[in-house]
């Protein structure tokens, strides 16, 4: 005998509709969550914040910027997909973090870097910088900076100061020296007791007009030239609290303090304003150091982290062979993040619990 159909109430709709008594589930509180803020949304915010920077890069460096950034993004996305599949992890392109890494890496390269630098840098950034640690959230060092450090040490010539300059170019901006290498050459000549008036002086003055540094029509890595675009994007990120304002505040303060303390010395021809506006300092402060994964958790530690980066950047600029120090400063401070977290465990409201005897 066939089984009776379930008793249907007179007014019940089609038999496959929802059962009359809703299934009640049990779960721990809270039962609500803020759907407007997700990891994906954070990464999307960073891309939005980077938009003005990319726009200026394309305006200043034209096709060079389009190709470099596009290539880095493509290879980062491909690396994420391939390496993620090799680790048999769920498909992770949807969190946009690989795209962010690609844009930041692309913007941190010189316009002249050959295609294989972008490709190798991107594979290393995603592979060694992130995936080997276990993927997004588990890496210690900023992935884009890991990729950049790798290609910088591997291809010193193509990434060095000379790579930025092409005197015969029709693109006016790349015929000049970058502000920081002009400053470095000037300081080096001064230290060697050479005559710094004449061409060196002229080169320095051409390369480091504060107005140009602010607008962005100076030579440098693709994304670092325009202080204005970086501030617009960076302030947006801080207002969304996708980036913690404590970090850029710390970077700017740290860099300013060291630059001010040493500005009267022959170590640098730059005053603190030049140091803040030139090179990758603002790019690093707002877009690189603020990577949540590789920065500390508490507001106090975030500020100290930023302060450390700012101090190291200027020290590296003045005392090392490199004209710029943002990349190494960020990587060095990434390494001390666990310590900063441990040192700055906040005192809870009401103080620590009394010791139980």
């Amino acid at each position: 005998m066939a089984q009776d159909p379930p008793p249907a109430e007179a007014d019940s709709p089609a038999p496959d509709a929802a059962p009359p008594a809703p299934a009640i589930r049990v779960a721990p509180s809270p039962h609500l969550s803020d759907a407007s803020f997700t990891t994906r949304r954070m990464m999307l915010d960073v891309l939005v914040g980077l938009a003005p920077v990319v726009a200026v890069a394309v305006f200043v460096f034209q096709w060079y910027a389009v190709v470099q950034v596009g290539l880095c993004v493509l290879v980062c996305l491909a690396s994420e997909a391939v390496l993620g599949a090799m680790r048999k992890k769920p498909f992770s392109l949807g969190d946009y973090s690989a795209a962010v890494t690609g844009v930041i890496l692309g913007l941190s390269l010189p316009w002249s870097a050959p295609w294989y630098i972008a490709v190798i840098g991107s594979i290393v950034a995603v592979g060694l910088g992130k995936v080997v640690f276990g993927g997004l959230g588990y890496n210690i060092f900023n992935p884009a900076m890991v990729g950049r450090a790798f290609v910088m040490l591997s291809f010193a010539k193509q990434m060095g100061a000379s790579a930025y300059r092409w005197a015969e170019s029709t693109l006016d901006v790349i015929t000049q020296a970058t502000p920081l290498s002009a400053a470095k050459e000037y300081a080096a000549a001064l230290a060697a007791g050479k005559d710094v008036t004449g061409p060196l002086q002229e080169q320095l003055e051409n390369a480091s007009q504060l107005g140009s540094l602010f607008i962005g029509n100076v030579n440098g890595s693709l994304g670092e030239t325009s202080a204005l675009a970086l501030l617009v994007g960076g302030v947006y990120l801080c207002m969304r609290r996708t980036a913690s304002w404590e970090i850029p505040a710390g970077v700017l303060l740290g860099a300013f303090a060291v630059a001010a303390a040493l500005s009267a010395t022959p170590l640098t021809p730059f005053n603190p304003a030049h140091h803040l506006l030139s090179g990758a300092l603002l790019f690093g402060a707002f877009f690189i150091a603020t990577d949540p994964v590789t920065s500390p958790l508490t507001p106090k530690a975030k500020f100290l982290f930023g302060l450390g980066i700012g101090v190291l950047v200027v020290l590296i600029r003045l005392f090392s062979g490199y004209p710029e120090g943002v990349m190494f400063a960020v990587l060095l401070m990434n390494a001390v993040v666990p310590l900063l977290n441990r040192w700055t465990v906040p005192r809870p409201l009401g103080g620590p619990a009394p010791k139980q005897s």
Partner: protein
């Protein structure tokens, strides 16, 4: 003093916290209705923090509304009373929403109840409440009356009220704060009570202050309830009871947050408000206190919101303690088809019900029925250490560290990060962009530490 509340008035607030959608619209306009006595009530013998009661009535005996049916000699305990007249049935066990398995006194309600409908409403909340001459009451007598009436905190934690009010020579009380924040989304029971019965709240506040020796009094109300604030201010005219507007933010009504917001004092971890000279009572408790002292009536009824998108007709009900959640939901038209969770309390800290026949207790401020849409959560991903949980934690903790240490079973690390200070408000899990069940993991760890 004028009975107006302006938007320019300064608003007190605590630091950090979150602001979830308020969702008060479901039941805020619904005047308190009296739930007809159900056929049966089941009065739990442990409805409070503290020692359980022993039953004082035998099966088949007749009890009248207000008779004591459970009692304990312990100081931190509160008697329970018959919330309907009727006949005692064989004792049973019931599982409360918080997971506790407790004995209950089952009372089959008589056909004829001594109080019902408007008469019951008037007996509990209506009529006139004297606000003058309350100073003449003896503090000791107030506390005894409170204890006999079985008063416990009606805001959720259900701590016996007489314990809070008992003066302690070492820690004199300066302030009595009456908590009308109702910061949990959805819930409107306190709001309706303040709108409809401000007088017993004020009378209760004055009596409580007299009992514990507080010289300063304030009713604290979030600024999303301006009408309630106006009503309370008008009722408190010519009394020493002040009104403090609070910023609408969760968990503004948490005891420690309220004290931080209004007085700038920090209740020590593991301590009580009385350690900083404060007693905090909920508005519902204050009204019940006035009724206990001035009318000699025990806590047998309370106001409960039945609300949420999953309930057909959201209402605020005056219900007998021990009615089942099913009684309440059925009276409000039942649940919609897309109902997903039935929560005892509000959505931020309430417990889901597995069994709708569980009895409502004195500490239940609402039933929130949430739909699948409201409780949908994205899949958990790895912590990206953004620090949002740190930014919102009202106790100034590092929730991600606590939660991941809990998951790893690293109890030592949880203690280094001050796990005992967590009050489980859930701001961290609410805000986490990676949808990590932060407070849930912390709760797990706290339970494991308790066991050790």
């Amino acid at each position: 003093m004028t009975a107006t509340v302006t938007s320019a008035e300064p608003k007190a607030t605590f630091a950090r916290g979150v602001h979830p959608p308020e969702r008060k619209e479901f039941a805020a306009e619904a005047a308190i209705e009296v739930l007809p006595a159900p056929e049966q009530v089941r009065v739990a013998l442990l409805q409070h923090l503290g020692a359980p009661c022993a039953p004082t009535v035998k099966p088949r005996s007749e009890v009248a509304l207000g008779d004591v049916v459970g009692q304990s000699d312990a100081f931190v305990s509160a008697p329970v009373h018959a919330s309907v007249s009727g006949k005692v049935a064989p004792a049973k066990m019931a599982t409360l929403p918080n997971g506790r398995h407790v004995p209950v006194v089952v009372i089959q309600a008589a056909e004829e109840q001594p109080l019902a409908g408007q008469a019951l409403y008037d007996d509990v909340l209506g009529g006139s409440w004297p606000l003058d001459g309350l100073d003449g009451h003896d503090p000791k007598a107030i506390i005894d009356a409170v204890r006999e009436a079985g008063l416990v905190g009606q805001g959720g934690a259900a701590f016996p009220t007489h314990v809070k009010l008992t003066p302690n020579e070492k820690r004199p009380i300066e302030w009595l704060l009456v908590n009308g924040c109702e910061c949990e989304p959805y819930l409107t029971a306190d709001e309706r009570l303040m709108l409809e019965a401000p007088a017993p709240i004020i009378a209760g506040a004055l009596l409580a202050a007299r009992a514990c020796g507080a010289s300063k009094l304030a009713v604290c109300i979030e600024d999303n309830k301006p009408e309630a604030a106006r009503t309370v201010r008008a009722a408190a005219r010519n009394t020493p009871v002040g009104l403090r507007l609070m910023k609408t933010k969760y968990p503004q009504g948490g005891e420690k947050q309220l004290i931080q917001a209004v007085l700038g004092r920090e209740v020590p971890t593991g301590g009580l408000p009385l350690d900083v000279g404060v007693v905090v009572i909920n508005v519902g408790t204050a009204a019940a206190l006035a009724r206990a002292v001035l009318r000699g009536k025990p806590l047998t009824h309370r106001v409960v919101s039945v609300t949420g998108a999953g309930i057909r007709e959201p209402k605020n009900l005056l219900i007998p303690v021990g009615a089942s959640y099913r009684d309440l939901i059925d009276y409000c038209g039942g649940m919609r088809d897309d109902a997903a969770r039935v929560v005892a309390g509000g959505p931020m800290m309430g417990f889901t019900l597995g069994d709708l026949d569980a009895p409502v207790t004195k500490g239940t401020s609402g039933v929130t029925v949430l739909t699948h849409e409201e409780v949908r959560r994205t899949e958990e991903t790895a912590c990206v250490r953004c620090g949002r949980c740190v930014d919102v934690c009202p106790m100034r903790l590092v929730p991600t560290r606590l939660a991941l240490a809990s998951r790893a079973g690293n109890w030592d690390l949880t203690q280094k990060y001050h796990i005992t200070a967590c009050m489980e408000c859930g701001c961290c899990a609410y805000t986490c962009p990676a949808a990590i069940p932060l407070v849930q993991l912390i709760r797990l760890s706290k339970a494991m530490l308790m066991k050790k």
